[in-house]
Symmetry: C2
Subunit: 100 residues, 2 copies
């Protein structure tokens, strides 16, 4: 095997690892949506307006606490802001569906 | 336990589940960074300019393939665009550090 072939093989292996990580990431994001939907249902069924204004700050605080690197904290925060934004949209769309 | 207390307890349980999902998401994002850094090292050491222009499309294609819902596909794509953007920045900063 030439050096170039060895490098290509190592890259292919890395990309397969990334694909595996991404498969698990997608699984976890869907798991998160299910829990967010359950929260919406509890709020609607109970009639409670359980708004916790600091919840999003708490989530970002957890992310910083969980993050041992090498992902920079600022990058982790930006990724989770995107995730939370998408989850808010999903929850809002779902509430509107039920009301209409 | 009143209905309100039961709802509060159920919400607390959901939030604990989300925190657990987030802990695992942060772990996977860091795992992804490690592989991306390894790819950068292979490229530098081998001197190969192994640019695969369709790799990002491939990653998004995988995400759609992996996604069984309830996360909407468009939301999954937006989250992964953010993740890939952060990874590009990390890889670029690292390359600059090594060159300087």
């Amino acid at each position: 095997m030439t050096t170039e072939e060895a490098a290509q093989a190592a890259l292919a292996e890395c990309r397969a690892q990334i694909d595996d990580v991404d498969r698990r990431l997608v699984g976890l994001l869907n798991e998160r949506v299910l829990v967010v939907q359950r929260i919406g249902e509890i709020k609607q069924t109970s009639g409670l307006n359980v708004y916790e204004p600091n919840r999003e700050k708490k989530v970002l605080g957890n992310v910083l606490m969980f993050n041992g690197g090498p992902l920079p904290d600022e990058a982790a925060v930006r990724i989770f802001e995107r995730i939370m934004d998408e989850m808010r949209t999903i929850q809002r769309d779902r509430m509107q569906e039920k009301e209409s």
